[in-house]
């Protein structure tokens, strides 16, 4: 096998992995921290791609990268405040079921608004072309994607771990009644965290759009994969989501040249094994 082929697959694996990490980081906020098993996470990713598509044609790519997470994040906040929060007492089962119904609604709304045909979008101006790496060339857009995703993940991490707001959120997760008693509106805070988690999925969808295009069911695969990543990385562990995401991306990319028949199988075997042997995941503490 050619070394340059392996090198390009490793680079592509990192790009793929960073996308997974970004979506999984959002799911970690929602599932790992707020304890809401949001099965519609992939649907929000798809919605993000579609909103970005419309925003791009009117206002260009940079604005689309802001509009998609903003719009979808607000949708997420509304859905959480009106419905999901009220299901908290009914337990996980009903939250899973509700978000499952949400997938149908979001996916079919996408078909209703944008039609069933796949979207394809050109690489934004200024980001075409690539870096020459010996005989091969690596597209600028992929570098851009990795940088933006890394910055976003770092920003969320810094807010969570290094600011007062992050401290209040973490305290609220540990002991909501106490934080409520001190005078913070935990419910409202958590609804905003839910919105941020959804927004991360949406911006990932927007970033992926020029790379892979879009189609109404594009969220299903990513939904499954982000649950795999969150489970493997460790529920509630932000670092686990990032490392797990890149790991899954790399495995998928390398398997596609070594043993293409088993790339998906390998990932779900890994998920099942982690669930059985180490349910707290690689980085989880629980």
């Amino acid at each position: 096998m050619e070394p340059s082929l392996i090198a390009i697959e490793i680079l592509n694996g990192i790009v793929l992995g960073v996308i997974y990490a970004l979506v999984a980081a959002g799911l970690t906020l929602i599932f790992g921290m707020l304890d809401i098993p949001n099965f519609a996470h992939g649907a929000f990713y798809a919605l993000g791609a579609y909103v970005a598509y419309t925003a791009m044609s009117h206002a260009g790519f940079p604005l689309a990268l802001i509009a998609a997470p903003l719009a979808v994040g607000i949708v997420g906040i509304i859905i959480d405040a009106l419905f999901i929060r009220r299901l908290a007492r009914a337990g996980h089962t009903y939250q899973i079921l509700f978000t499952l119904g949400l997938v149908l609604i979001v996916q079919e709304s996408i078909v209703l608004i944008w039609g069933p045909n796949p979207l394809s979008v050109e690489i934004p101006r200024g980001l075409t072309g690539g870096i020459a790496l010996g005989l091969i060339s690596f597209p600028y857009y992929r570098v851009f994607l990795v940088v933006v995703a890394a910055l976003l993940i770092a920003a969320v991490w810094i807010v969570l771990e290094r600011t007062k707001l992050g401290a209040i959120i973490r305290a609220g997760i540990e002991d909501p009644q106490m934080v409520d008693a001190i005078g913070y509106d935990v419910d409202r805070l958590f609804t905003i965290v839910f919105g941020v988690g959804v927004a991360l999925a949406a911006i990932a969808g927007a970033l992926v759009l020029p790379l892979r295009g879009g189609q109404p069911a594009m969220g299903n695969e990513l939904n499954a994969l982000s649950f795999v990543v969150v489970v493997i990385g460790g529920l509630g562990s932000f670092a686990g989501a990032v490392v797990g995401g890149i790991l899954v991306g790399l495995v998928q990319s390398l398997m596609s040249i070594v043993f293409p028949a088993a790339d998906e199988v390998a990932i779900f075997v890994a998920m099942a094994v982690v669930l059985l042997v180490r349910p707290q995941g690689l980085f989880g503490r629980r």
Partner: protein
Amino acid sequence: MTARGLPFAILILLIAFAPLVVHYPELLTQALIFGLLAAAFSLLLGQLGFLSFGQAVFNGLGAYAAGLLLVHVAHVPILLALIAAALCGATGAAIVGLLASQGAGVYAVMLTFAFNELAYYLAFQLRDVTGGDNGLRGVVRPALFGLDLSSNVAYYYFTATVFLIVFYALLRVIDAPFGHVLRAIRENEARARTIGYDTRRFKVTAFVISGAITGVGGALYAMLYGFVPLETVDFTTSTNIVIMGILGGIGSPYGALAGAGIFTLLSDRLSHVWAHWPLLLGVLFCTVVMVLRGGVLQLLHVKRA
């Protein structure tokens, strides 16, 4: 006739005369098959309190077991195909149940989900055996002791007989002490264990029963359309089963059957009228989850009271 016997007698009459009212025996057969799948799911969620996201695994095992037998072996009796499907579905369910019942809550749900994805990609990759995304073609529909089932009406009555036998058995299981233990586990597993029940054994047994019924459903479906589509093991099939079970009312197999009926009717009739019917289904489903936990069946009870 006991109070319990009355609804079942009405069900027999409804099923017996349905083809006179609805002139689509294929659609009715499909509704009954989905009814089996949803009822098997309701045993796990409604009685045991376990949300299984992997029902399509057992469905696929049954469909492929029966399908492969009927494609590759000559003169397989139809009942043998169904038994093989039940055994394969039950075996798969035993493994999934054994592994899932050691985890707690949402982890166990995730595990059934992982198994479903695993089964799907395996079926997709083993195209020499399963036909991959082309599906397994050439599944024949054997005669029943010389009785020709090739007409869709004849096959409807065959499916209806299988359905009623399985459905009745399931009702008995739920009424039996076994069913009471499942509900005890659902309400408080630690308490059930403290009383002295080996809760894990009961959970795995519930999985085995559910898997066997789901496997039979898969085989009946394969013989209805003469092939096994890859969608049989798709996660979407699992979620459809979940949706059917919840819509009608998860508390009883009758509710699950009602949900399957509504789902089949909506997906067939409404899809001709309005292509975006899944939107309506999603809204209906979310409404049931939010405010009508007893499903559509609950509406009937409220009216009666």
